[in-house]
Amino acid sequence: MSSPLSRADMAKIVARDIPAGSYVNLGIGQPTLVADYLPPDKHVVLHTENGMLGMGPQACGDEIDPDLTNAGKLPVTELPGASYFHHADSFAMMRGGHLDVCVMGAFQVSTAGDLANWHTGDPDAIPAVGGAMDLAVGAKTVYVMMTLFDKDGNAKVVPECTYPLTGLACVSRVYTDLAVFQLKNDQVYVTETFGTTVGELSARLQIPLVAGPSPD
């Protein structure tokens, strides 16, 4: 593509890459948008950490039920085949390797796949972690969806995370507005670019990049 992706376009591309029939957890914030681009015939089942499988779209009007919310505490709906369960079961699904894919936002991802997304380390910031660390270690595949640079222009794919870590070597793909990255064996593969080139990205990120998907 010839220009950087909008948030909606990023969500479309993540949705495209989620295998049919997967059990998927979408993190709060931007990743929630991915749900809008998962067609019903793909049979993806959404998990929400607060205790539900088979989560439907956000509720509106008369559908709103304060007892039926997602991880971002927004009202949602249930789909046929949905189930409810308590928190220990919900996190057994996450930690126990039962979810195929999770999609999270991030402050930083290292070339080794380390993830930092819960705390900026600012001493005045109030830390909050939620289920991010459980997803990082437990989901079979961890996708990150974020802008490639922060608002000050700092790269968010980095040689080493400087923010406090969420999990070690857990991220396998990073979807950004400028490129899609695959992380494998400490190598960073660029599978798609949007309005830029691998050469330009390598210069801006100051990390070695390999054009094309990882060989396997």
């Binding site: 304060p66 928190h87 909050a128 972690v129």
Partner: protein, 241 residues
């Protein structure tokens, strides 16, 4: 037979200074608002509260924190757009925070209820939240030791109770209720209705009555019609509408 308390104050009559109080809920879903109002009227101080969040807005758990009678909160996600009560207390150094990854929080509560002395989990390995915790390599993977969280009292929100103390829940309001019920010396459930024993299908019971000591009827309107299993049963008591 379960004890059906007349009001939340009665249900919390033996709460002591220094108690650990498990509070169900994820955001406002499953938060036992009536019991938290009862907690506001108690005089017990130096409480430790265990809950996923640290209060929203000015009611519920936030109102309890605002009394200054909570010295410590153990939770996974205190920072929210409307957590200003906690934010202020934390920044003023007036409340201690133990931040726990959400799954470790749930499992520590579950472990307490199940008589488990601790468990090794991969969640948090290599992060600041593993600081000071024992690390053990099992079959090539690193885990950290997490210890159980016992409560003196658990305050949870369920949907229907029967007179044997069996509970059902509603949708994602179930969240921490079933595990917190197992982990405290006294479990109090705020419910939308109390039905006679036998009116909940035993196959549909989520929390067996052995884990429940007291119930109190919620004062707000029930969010659903009567449970399918308990509908229009003679002897049922409903929350006021």
């Amino acid at each position: 037979m379960i004890e059906v308390c007349g009001d939340a104050g009665d249900a919390l009559r033996d709460l002591r200074d220094g108690a650990t109080v498990l509070v169900g809920g994820f955001g406002e879903a499953g938060l036992p608002f009536g019991l938290l109002e009862g907690l506001l009227r108690c005089s017990a101080r130096d409480l430790t509260v265990v809950s996923n969040n640290a209060g929203n807005g000015d009611s519920g758990l936030a109102a309890v924190l605002a009394t200054g009678r909570v010295k410590k909160i153990i939770c996974s996600y205190p920072r929210q757009v409307d957590s200003w009560v906690f934010d202020r207390l934390y920044r003023e150094g007036r409340i201690e925070l133990e931040l726990v990854p959400q799954g470790n929080l749930a499992e520590r509560i579950r472990a307490a209820g199940a008589g488990i002395g601790g468990f090794y989990t991969p969640t948090g390995v290599g992060t600041p939240l593993a600081a000071g915790k024992e690390v053990r390599n099992i079959a090539g993977r690193d885990y950290i030791l997490e210890l159980p969280i016992h409560g003196d009292v658990a305050l949870i929100r369920a949907d229907t109770a029967d007179e044997a103390g069996n509970l059902t829940y509603r949708k994602t309001a179930r969240n921490f209720g079933p595990i917190m019920a197992t982990a405290a010396k006294i479990t109090v459930a705020e419910v939308s209705r109390v039905v006679p024993a036998g009116a909940i299908d035993p196959e549909s019971v989520v929390t067996p009555g052995i884990f429940v000591n007291r119930v109190v009827l919620a004062s707000g309107p029930a969010r659903s019609g009567p449970a399918r299993s308990g509908s229009a049963h003679p002897g049922s008591r409903e929350a006021t509408r």
